[in-house]
Amino acid sequence: MIEIKHVTKRFGRKKVLNDISFNVQKGEITCLIGLNGAGKTTMMNAIMNLTPINKGEILLDGNPITPQEYNRITFIPDATIMLPHMSIQEAMDFMKDYYNVWNNARAGELLKFFRLKPEDKIADLSKGNAAKVNLLMGLALDVDYLLMDEPFSGIDLFSREQIADVFTTHLVEDRGVLITTHEISDIEHLIDRVILLEDGNVYKDFRSEDAREQEGKSVIDVLREVYQP
């Protein structure tokens, strides 16, 4: 479990994260939702130690995360990190050489799942396929936790469907997933938990099945109450 405990992050005088606490459980898909500027990406960067936090702590299975333990967590940013002149195959080979947690068999399965051609050049891919390649590179790593920043943003409906479908397969397995998205309707039926960030605070932390069962509300109903009171 990744525990975020009372995390505060300031940029200058502005508090971007204000005493944030929540958990990311293994085997669950947790969705971080919030309007632009709510602190979602900063939160992800803080977990990955890409930005220092001012207060609070972030624990992995009860302990502060050591540099070595960062090979149990991967962060998939919303932009392709690979060099555009590479083919998908070359990019995969690069990943294989670079990461000892690269799982070549799973990479092959993902390639098939997303119906990507390994010989295609990354520069020539559609936005949807580039997003799939980006995701493939992260999902092929044998890590316990996957952090994904906006995997659905700016891509077509069918690519979004295909990306959403991967979460229901063994390719994600029983790993812990933290995902930020604006396109909540794409994954409403897939997520276990929703953390609603608002102005750097956790406004709501709930299980999607509980909202349906106890209040008869969809995830979007709950969001609507917050944003359109």
């Binding site: 085997g27 669950e28 898909i29 959403a164 479908d165 979460f167 229901t168 397969t169 063994h170 409403e188 039926h189 897939l190 997520i191 276990d192 099945e209 349906r212 069962e213 008869g216 509300k217 969809s218 995830v219 979007i220 109903d221």
Partner: protein, 132 residues
């Protein structure tokens, strides 16, 4: 084939409803093996934890059973199978009656229409509510 879920009822409840419907209709046969948690999640495009929850509930309701480590199967208990079928028909009739009640129509006329529809649809395959 994924089923279409509504967004406001718990998904695990909708999965159980779907199983009950298929049991009542004989699409799922007594003793038939059910897909694994992961298989069903992929088929229905839902969270494997949701399938787990649905299976747990169905196990508690004795709709499915598991022997040791082998895959779960649909119950062979006739009284449970009958109850599922009964419950399904009862619900369908209740829904129908509720929808027709506001309309002023004599019972005999409704009965005649039902009869006509049912004989007519016997010559056609049952319409599937599933989408691709």
């Amino acid at each position: 084939m994924p089923i279409v879920f509504n967004k406001r009822d718990p998904i695990y409840v909708q999965v159980i409803q779907d199983f009950k419907e298929k049991i009542a209709a004989g699409v799922l046969q007594p003793g038939q093996q059910v897909p694994s948690r992961r298989e069903l999640a992929s088929q229905y495009k839902i969270n494997p934890n949701t399938v787990q929850r649905a299976y747990k509930e169905m196990e508690a309701e004795k709709l499915i059973f598991t022997d040791g480590n082998s895959p779960s199967r649909i119950t062979e208990d006739q009284s449970i199978l009958k109850a599922v079928r009964r419950e399904w028909i009862d619900q369908a009739v209740t829904d129908f009656v509720e929808s027709i009640r506001p309309i002023d129509i004599p019972l005999e006329e409704v009965m005649g229409m039902i009869q006509e529809k049912m004989t007519h649809s016997e010559n056609q395959p049952l319409k599937e509510e599933h989408h691709d």
